[in-house]
Symmetry: C2
Subunit: 150 residues, 2 copies
């Protein structure tokens, strides 16, 4: 069901990531999963997405190993969708998108949801791209290097 051939510059990890996630709805599903949603109905109410679309996206996320379908934790016969380790590894992606949105699309004082440190309730530190030896890197400080088969 996953097309897997939409972007054929497949040596680029960004393209593979994009292809694996599938579409934007999928990313918002993952965001909701980080926020604690587990059940079909929770995702549906939170996102307002059509049910057939949600069905397809959940299936493709499960197929891609981002979510897993597990028996419900409350003992009912229904199933729940939880993040796999691969899905949890998307955390920096979601945080990066969230910070970009906060910094560019909200007027000062405009209401918005915010991701905070559970321990102290403080905002997170802004993500930084660092070199191996810890220097802060701008886009110009980096370059793409082609790694051939070893």
């Amino acid at each position: 069901m996953v097309t897997r051939t939409r972007f054929d510059d497949s040596e680029c990890p960004v393209a593979r990531s994009v292809d694996a996630i599938g579409d934007w709805w999928s990313l918002l599903i993952v965001r909701d999963a980080f926020d604690g949603s587990r059940r079909f109905g929770e995702f549906q109410r939170s996102l307002g997405v059509a049910k057939n679309i949600l069905t397809a996206r959940l299936r493709s996320l499960v197929a891609g190993g981002v979510l897993a379908s597990v028996p419900a934790s409350d003992g009912s016969a229904y199933r729940e969708y939880v993040l796999t380790p691969k899905g949890e590894a998307l955390f920096p992606v979601i945080v990066a998108l969230r910070q970009w949105g906060e910094q560019n699309f909200f007027a000062p004082g405009e209401p918005h949801s915010e991701l905070v440190d559970r321990r102290h309730g403080h905002r997170l530190r802004t993500l930084e791209v660092l070199s191996a030896d810890g220097r802060r890197l701008d886009p110009d400080d980096t370059t793409v290097h082609k790694v051939s088969a070893q």
Copy 2:
């Protein structure tokens, strides 16, 4: 042209970011812009996308303030598309997607492009989500907090 109402949970910065970028092609355009592409034809050859789609995406990225259309740097009469500061701020997003892809979709030794520190040619440090006081945070260490208008 940007719908701006596709996701109506608009208080979430992630949703606004996703809506502002538009679609996955746009994100790959941004990736290519980080890699040095500037001209219409460069993006087209690199991505293999249809020209009408590329036209629409470039326009929407310019409208959204991610790219700017500037006179060509080589003196020709053509125009070039360069990242604005807002576009450059997407750097952590691209890096996060790249690292997720590298870690999850490539067999050891499989050829792939790699983003390296220009100074030493070393791989970048893996992105970390940090609290205000510098602790490394997992998804479970965070919670979403609703900020009302001040």
